[in-house]
Amino acid sequence: MAPFLLRRLGYLLCLVVISTSVAYLLAATQLRPRARYEGRNPPPPAAVVDATLDALNMNDKVPVLTRYRRWAGGLLRGDLGRTIDNQPVNAEISRRMWVSLRLVLVGAFIGTFLGVAAGAYGAVKQYQWSDRLLTVFSFVVLSIPAVVLGVLFKNAGIGLNNALGFKLLYTTGEMTPGMDPLSWAGLVNRVAHLVLPSLVLIVIAIAFYGRYQRNAMLDVLGSDFLRTARAKGLSRSRALITHGLRTALIPMATFFAYEFAMLFVGATFTERLFGWHGMGEYFVQSVTKNDVNSVAGVTLFVGVLVLIAGFLSDLAYAALDPRVRV
């Protein structure tokens, strides 16, 4: 099993290198950091602009491959370069990373778990009302853009607060300013802020996973090995869970890595709508500010996220499918 996992890790690493490099090269050639300095009033002398851009490694007069080499060299030493406002990208990312991760991880794990459960249940109860409900739910949710879903949840939360007469759920920021983040009250406050934005991601993940899990489970339900399991005397639920669900989960593991990338994009929307200062917001700002190094930094972050998710799904794959372990 170790060689399999090592091979997969190498492969995933290659993918991250490729996608981050392409993103860097595109950002370095398409974004115009010079415009940000030349547009100042009074316009600084050309030599000053060049010197500043050189220091940031964003001078478009330097060949792009030279800039890429300098950036990649810094990356190997763990240095992502400096933002267009001359702040270290590393500091910015480490400050914002957990804000987004909180959203994405909660969404991914709760959403995947509930989605798998709902999908499997729907397949077992095929064409009964619970199955139809799930099918309609997935169909409708996957037809609504994440933005609209976010606005709906936000306004529903505000409506709920108004109906209750006190603030149960918060709709802006990740915590009320001035609260002690380590105290019990601070923790409760954080959770009250987290509920609505992560609910958006959870709902999307349930719709996505539920739909595929249902189909995978339906394929398994008619199989011979399930009948054999029943014939040897296993109870229906035992046979369905240890033999049916386990097999139906194998193709699902593949989707896990996809789901992470999808949820990151989803988190970009919820961050904007709910006023969280995470990686999604950082990315949008960086593109608008022509901040090449920050854009590359966020792409690397997403790449690593997908790498970890991909590796986790390989682990799950190896654990579920005995053929891999041979």
Binding site: F4, A23, P145, R214, L218, T254, V287, G310
Partner: protein, 311 residues
């Protein structure tokens, strides 16, 4: 992204019946179409979807002739007016008519969806079939291209490229959307081509000296017509959704052009105070996408009644 489940076997979620439509007499070919059409008509939801799409299409393009206000007209006597009177969907803060804006946006979204879907499906069919039919170096090059594009995070890449198409035509944006939408289908097409390539009618054509590209377009792709039609339909709705996401952040359609995405982006903040600004474009968008998805689902069942449930 390649994971062990999909590495060696091509995804074969959908297998159409292998009848060579191009070789059948005219009559039989048309009777197959009739059969599919009849099966489609039997599905009430899909039919409702089709009617809704057709209606929205008609309303979007006919509205300039029936609406008292145009999308670029300001009404200085009606700022932030709720729906009613001559402003059917109300007005915005500047006095724009929300109905006219929404219809204008829907026109753009529909065009983006249809055009992009056609491009994506055509690209998928061509690349997949060439890779599968010719094999060898062509196959290696095209499969590498497919894998590479699948690795890139589409949303981030299009956002990075957005400053470079600002001020240019929105067609570049449609092309970019399509460029990140075709890879999965191309893999399926490639897998199907691999098996079609060994069939007698393809051999016969090859031995008669028909060039490869002609065989692909005359004999191989017509055999996948059902897959391609379904794929194009599903692509329309995914492209409309992708456009909304990118335009929300200003990475998609650029002003002065209006799309459902830019409207949703501009008025998402007003959803609570001036709901008509947000809920009309957003609601119509959801109805449109739902209807297209229903049609896609119905087509899938009509072309292949053996598929279980909804993939």
């Amino acid at each position: 992204m390649n994971t062990p489940g999909t590495q060696d076997t091509e995804p074969t979620a959908y297998q159409p019946p292998l009848a060579d439509a191009s070789l059948l007499p005219e009559e039989e070919a048309s009777s197959r179409l009739q059969l599919v059409w009849k099966r489609f008509l039997r599905q009430r939801l899909a039919l409702v979807g089709l009617v809704v799409v057709a209606l929205l299409f008609a309303v979007a393009y006919l509205s300039p002739f029936i609406s008292p206000w145009q999308y670029n007209q300001l009404d200085f006597n009606a700022f932030l007016e709720p729906p009613g009177g001559s402003h059917w969907f109300g007005t915005t803060q500047n006095g724009f008519d929300v109905f006219a804006l929404t219809m204008r946006g829907m026109q753009k979204s529909l065009v983006i969806g249809l055009l992009g879907a056609l491009m994506a499906t055509a690209l998928a069919a061509t690349v997949g079939a060439f890779a599968g039919y010719f094999g060898g170096a062509v196959n290696t090059a095209l499969v590498t291209l497919i894998d590479l594009l699948m690795v890139l995070p589409a949303f981030l890449i299009i956002a990075i490229l957005s400053p470079s198409f600002r001020g240019h035509t929105w067609l570049i944006f449609v092309g970019l959307l399509a460029a990140f939408q075709w890879m999965v289908t191309a893999r399926i097409v490639r897998g199907m081509t691999l098996s079609l390539r060994e069939r007698e009618f393809v051999h016969a054509a090859r031995f008669m000296g028909v060039p490869g590209w002609k065989i692909i377009f005359r004999h191989i792709l017509p055999n996948m017509a059902s897959l391609l039609i379904i794929d194009a339909t599903i692509n329309v709705s995914s492209l409309i959704l992708a456009e909304v996401g990118l335009s929300f952040f200003g990475f998609g359609v650029q002003p002065p052009d209006v799309s459902l995405g830019t409207l949703i982006g501009d008025y998402a903040g007003a959803a609570l105070t001036f709901p008509w600004e947000f809920y009309f474009p957003a609601g119509l968008l959801v109805v449109l996408v739902l209807a297209i998805n229903l049609v896609g689902d119905g087509l899938r069942d009509a072309f292949d009644p053996n598929t279980q449930g909804r993939a």
